[in-house]
Symmetry: C2
């Protein structure tokens, strides 16, 4: 299982219909922003216009606190941006703060780059021209210090490099964002729309950064990188500040309840964000298999066999999880 959120393998091994499964394998908000129906026909039939794109970017600027003198561009998911950046960054090796979301190193490897795994940005080696950090980190939720991020960006700037900060899970803790530093430093902030808004299928993400860098990325993406429905839904959702405020409260409450279920079952919390929790169990892989037999799908890790990651669930889902734990014993 390479990623969360894909039940294809779970269904093949353990049967059942997708609707039978309690999918806790993702960090996607299970309470999506409600799409206003109907989406106008023109969003499907016409090529997105510049006016549509401008409307989305304006909403994103406000939601993400983008300085006026920084650039922002939208793409069909931040994964698309993760794929492009290694092809557009200047020559040189990249340091990636690990362990983290695996697609950063996969993309730099596909792009033919040397990758240096580091445990902390303070351990940045001299030969690293670029660096990547996920903040807060997936899966452990670790938050980097803002001052340290600025120092690293200044060092990389002198090397002609970029600091990529993947803020896929920063919506739950907006104060963490480095967007405010991105106008003057070679910081590229990635913001995922689908996780916090619970609409991962829509494929929408953003990169925020120095205007010259963002323009280079925009040129590589070319025209019409985002679908009409994503432009329409994304702009409306990003303008809905009261939903976002209320959702942060709800996620805080449900992640607390999830913690309670996990610790009651004898797991130890390692970390996480308000969209997923990381827990330790000495026999985590057996637990993963037993849960799967009960059609509950959480996330295990090849490289950390005593960790399991759990996404959030409704109270019903949490009750089901708790009783599954009790039946496993």
């Amino acid at each position: 299982m390479k990623h969360g959120g894909d039940l294809t393998e779970a269904l093949a091994r353990h049967g059942g219909e997708p609707a039978d499964w309690l999918d806790l394998s993702t960090g996607i908000n299970p309470w999506p922003w409600t799409i206003p129906h109907p989406i106008p026909d023109s969003a499907w039939t016409r090529l997105p216009s510049r006016a549509d794109e401008d409307g989305l970017l304006l909403a994103a600027r406000k939601a993400y606190g983008v300085p006026d003198d920084a650039g922002i561009v939208a793409a069909a998911g931040t994964q698309t941006l993760i794929q492009w950046i290694p092809y557009l960054a200047g020559a040189g090796a990249v340091a990636i703060v690990t362990p983290t979301y695996g697609e950063h190193s996969a993309a730099w490897r596909t792009g033919g780059r040397e990758i240096i795994a580091v445990n902390d940005l303070s351990a940045l080696p001299e030969r690293a021209v670029h660096a990547v950090i996920v903040n807060p980190n997936n899966p452990d939720g670790h938050a980097a210090d803002g001052r340290a991020l600025r120092d690293v960006a200044e060092r990389l700037d002198r090397r002609g490099g970029w600091l990529v900060i993947d803020e896929a899970f920063a919506d739950v803790d907006p104060g963490i964002s480095a967007a405010g530093m991105s106008a003057d430093l070679p910081i590229l902030v990635l913001r995922s729309f689908g996780k916090f808004y619970g609409l991962a299928g829509i494929r929408l993400g953003f990169v925020i950064g120095r205007r010259d860098i963002v323009e280079r990325i925009a040129a590589a993406l070319g025209p019409w990188p985002v679908s009409g429905p994503a432009l329409h839904v994304g702009a409306a959702a990003l303008r809905d500040r009261s939903w976002a405020d209320a959702m942060r409260v709800k996620l805080a409450r449900q992640s607390g309840r999830l913690d309670h279920v996990l610790t009651a079952a004898g797991l130890h919390l390692v970390g996480g964000t308000m969209l997923f929790r990381l827990a330790f169990h000495p026999d985590a892989l057996r637990l993963h298999a037993e849960l799967a037999r009960r059609h509950i799908w959480c996330r295990s890790f090849d490289w950390a066999r005593e960790w399991l990651r759990f996404g959030l669930a409704s109270d019903d889902g949490l009750n089901r999880l708790a009783s599954a734990f009790r039946s496993i014993g």
Copy 2:
């Protein structure tokens, strides 16, 4: 006006609401395939699964006549593929058969490649490692000879190069497709979903080619390149063969009626496909401006000031166009 289909500029110059305009500036079918409502919530909320993607690709293989031993990958519009190809092709110059859709040369230029404009594939210079042809061509509708395409692909193969064949408008004339030759030769066939199916906002396109090349492109695109709604709608539409057969008949009829309106107004047909017609008029730019004043938007060309391109319209739209021509005199 760089592209058809974006009324932003037309509205800024000539006012009106988008709904007031008769937009003939695109080659997008104005009779879209009907989206089955509702699209399942999971298409919006979940990350697309491998099973979803496999379903789309199977439907595309059948619709486009892809040989079993050729590869196919989906992207968020063929434009995305046009953007990536210059970054993934081996070193060397590209010959582009011109005049044609401008985004091919724009993308190879952004990718830092030398571009050699040629009028015909038979004029392929020795130093061209790669070649691009739009078939049938946009805007003139010119169809390349299949035997000539194979010869060029064989020559480029010996140079380690690729032949990109953009079949954005091939749905109206499936016999033209080079997909059947793509398993053994370095031919990359681009297929656009949105034009023929009238759903350009959905962002869906395909590249068909030799498995090793397609796998390289898929690795660059990364996971989840296509949205959940596009996977859902695309698979269903591509399986609907009776709609496609009936639509070809309808497009043939309406393009014939459009020809009649254009020639009655004193324009001379230069070419086109069943999704757009290219016409000559000695005073084409004045005609373009007069039509725009009447909120009819067609496509003019910086580099061919006596040409106008017209997309298809309903009978009502054709009557409006005909009476506009009469009032211009």
